[in-house]
Each structure stands twice: as C-alpha cells, then as structure tokens.
C-alpha cells in the first residue's frame, strides 16, 4: 500500500473561540447581532468554537448551534474546562467537543493561568493569548542606555551591558549576553518571559516579581530563560 488515497495527519489551526457568559439565547442573539453588524464580512462563514466554561448546567446546545448558524458562522464544536459527564452529554447529542491544550493540562496549571483568561475573555475574542509585535534592536545596549518596548516584545540582536536597562510590556529576547537589567511584562503580564544566550543579569523582573543576580546562579553564564510559573519566577535552561 504505497499510494493510499487518503492519509491522516495532525495539524493545528487558528480558530475563533466565542466565550459565552450566559446561556440565555435572547441575550446572546442581541449581543451577537451587535458584534456581527460591526464587521459582517469578517464574520461570514468563520469557523467558530463555543466556550461554555462559564455557563451553568442548563445549556440548550442545539439552540446555541442554531443561533450561531443563524449569524452565518460555521459551527465547529464546543470547548471549555468542563466535567466528564457534560462532555459525554455533548458527544451524545452529536456535537464535537474540542480540547484545547489548556484543558488537557493538570489542574494546577489551570489555576495559574486563569487570570490571563479573564484578561482576554470578552464576548468575542479572536485570539486567546495576548499577541505583541516585536521591537527589534540591532547592536549592543551600552551601560546607561535604556530601551522600552511599549506594548511590544523586545528583541535585541547583541548584548545588554552591565548598567543598561531593557524593558518591554511583552517578552524580552537577547541574542547575546544579558548583563544589565531586563524587565518584561512591565505593564502587568505574568506570562511574559525573558530569554538570553548568556545569563549574567544584574536583575530580571516579570510582572513586578524580580530577582537579583544571586538568585540566578544555577544557569549563570549559559543560555537560559526566566518565566513565571506556579506563582513564582522560574529559571530554565534554554538549550
């Protein structure tokens, strides 16, 4: 069987997720009409997954699907971190339940990631995580210099000298040695991370939580990244 006429392969797609905060169809219809009226072309036949995580048990699944299709969306399935019985019920009704990477993770991680969901869970959000554009700086950041990437990630192709300061509202990437201070998630973003090829930083900070150099001895002088996990700063080897 060298020339099979079909083949299964795993692929990832970006899908819009519609987060519902109520199961009352009349209210949803009103909100959806308002949203779709803003950009009818944009939403036309857009595949959409319905997140029912925030709803109580009395959900009219068929009703929701019909409502979605009424507004010319292409209904894909339901999602959200819900219990097993509810999931079974959805499948028995003939709908697909879509797992996100998040609902598969351990309970502990779900807890730490809840705040970010609150940040993005508008009635309709096209993306689930904050996406920042990049501010790219070529060359070394010298002692006494300061760079701030407002509402952006900061990419530095070069080293950051001792006594220099790099700040970003998003992530910070240093393709060189990080010897100065790096402050990521400056406006409050606990998922921000700091990457560098050679960690010798005076100070690193994510979302206001900071470390001085003495806390980074583990991967000192080697490629590493700093992230915020389980409510504390964590240092990991990069390669």
């Amino acid at each position: 069987m060298t020339d099979a006429s079909i083949e299964f392969k795993g692929s990832s797609f970006t899908l819009s997720v519609l987060h519902l905060k109520t199961s009352k169809l009349a209210e949803l219809r009103k909100e959806l009409a308002k949203k779709v009226a803003q950009a009818p072309d944009f939403f036309y036949l857009v595949p959409v997954v319905i997140c029912i995580e925030k709803l109580d048990c009395s959900i009219d699944y068929q009703g929701i699907k019909a409502l979605i299709e009424e507004f010319n969306f292409t209904f894909v399935g339901f999602t959200g971190s819900i219990d097993k019985e509810q999931r079974t019920l959805i499948r028995e009704l003939g709908f697909s339940f879509v797992n996100t990477a998040r609902t598969n993770t351990s309970k502990k991680q779900v807890i730490t990631e809840r705040p970010i969901e609150q940040e993005t869970s508008e009635v309709i959000s096209n993306t689930q995580v904050k996406l920042y554009s990049d501010k790219i700086h070529r060359g070394q950041i010298r002692s006494g210099q300061q760079i701030y990437a407002k509402d952006q990630n900061l990419v530095i192709i070069g080293s950051v000298s001792a006594g220099a300061e790099v700040i970003a509202d998003g992530n910070i990437h240093v393709y060189g040695a990080l010897r100065g201070r790096a402050i990521a998630g400056a406006k409050g973003h606990h998922r921000a991370q700091i990457y560098c090829q050679n960690l010798e930083a005076e100070l690193v900070s994510i979302n206001g939580n900071y470390w001085l150099s003495e806390s980074m001895e583990q991967h000192w002088g080697s490629p590493a990244y700093i992230h915020f996990t389980d409510s504390e700063l964590t240092l990991s080897k990069l390669i």
Partner: protein, 269 residues
Amino acid sequence: MARIIVVTSGKGGVGKTTSSAAIGLGLALKGHKVVLIDFDIGLRNLDLIMGCERRVVYDFVNVINGEATLNQALIKDKRVSSLSILPASQTRDKDALNKENVGKVLEELGKTYDYIICDSPAGIEAGAMMALYYADEAIVTTNPEVSSVRDSDRILGMLASRSRRAELDLEPIKEHLLLTRYSPKRVEEGEMLSVEDVEDILSIPLLGVIPESQAVLKASNAGEPVILDTESDAGKAYQDVVDRLLGESVDFRFLLAEKKGIFSRMFGG
C-alpha cells in the same frame, strides 16, 4: 579630508592624554600633518606631556571667543614640524566651548591637517561630549579593571547616540579599543581582567595593548611622549598602535608574562 579622532574613556587617569600625545607624535613621525587638541578646559595637561608648557600664549578658548587666531594659538612641536598642539585654557571651565564654534575651528584645522586628535576630559558631561561630538573615529582608552570597563561602555553608548554622526544618522563613529596599563603577570594571577574579558564585554575591535611600564611616568615628567622611548615596551606598543591606525596589520605584543630565565631566577631579577 582630515580624520577627526577622539581619545576618550569616561574614567579619569586611564591614559587618555598619554595616548593622545604618543599617537599624535607617532602619526607625525610617519610624515602626516597632525594637530593635537586639548579639550580638558581648566585642567590643561597635554602641553606638559608634550613638553611645550612654556610656549603657551593663547589657547583653545581664546580662539573660540575670537580673541586670537588659530595660527597664534597653535604651538608647533620642536621635534616634528608636522605636529601642532592646541592647548586648553587653564583659567576657564568647560562651558567656555560651544558646538558651533568648536565645529568652525575643526573645519578650519581640517583644511591643513590630516589628523585631528581630540584629547577628551574624563566624565560624561559637556566637556567630554564636546570632544566626541565631531569625531569620525574614537579611541576608547580602557584599563583592565571593572570600573574602567563599565565607564568605557557608557562612553561607547554616548558615541553611538550623542555624536554628530548619530544625530545626522551618518555612518557611525569607528570605535577602537586601546587597553592601557596591562600587566600580563597580574592577569595570569587573576588580579586583572584579560584582553579577552574586556573584548567580550565591550565587543569593539582592539587597536592596541599598552603594557604597564615605568617608562610612561618618566616620559610624562620629561615632556617626551613615550613613543620616543623606542627601547621601552610601552613605546613599542604605541608604535604598533600607530601602524594599525594607518591600516597595517601588526601582531599584538606584550600579552604574555615574561618567562623568567635561569639567570634572572638565580639573581632575583
């Protein structure tokens, strides 16, 4: 067109004036027309190192203020006729200079000279900024020691952001690292940063390494730039620097501690 070279460091006492004098004289000995400008207004030193302190009549500030012409203020070196010195004022302070007039003086000098060497004052204030503003190249003088390296790093930031070339978005200032007072023995003993350490932190091309030498102090006091002391390691190292500035490729010397021979061991040399 004249090459304007600033000799700078951030930190004081690392050898800016010694290096300016040695490099300036070295270039002149090679037949180039060179003018050395002392930007350290109020702390006039370059004339002492050059041995022309008794011949200062007018100075840089007089020229800036239109109280003297350039020709009146310039002092011709007695050893090499193609070298001139524009001394600083000892009685004024650094606010006496302004960008516009300094620019005019440099432009005027550029008509006659091949090299304009600006000996910068220490610090990162107006005086040092004035010295580097018009530069095409910078010789960043650094001692193999952490505070000097950090200050040099700061000055490199200034070169990249506060100079005329940066402001007009021209090709950036060409940076050279000059490591002075280097002692290979102390590097081996771990007391001093090595050439590699400093290069790693500053990441600019190395122009020269001047070994720590008694000849430097002697030369300063005598008013004879150390490059004239052709027997000394420091003199030879400055000669290499001049050759490299002129585009020659010269191997680095004096980077390793001298191995003691059997005789010096026996006689405690």
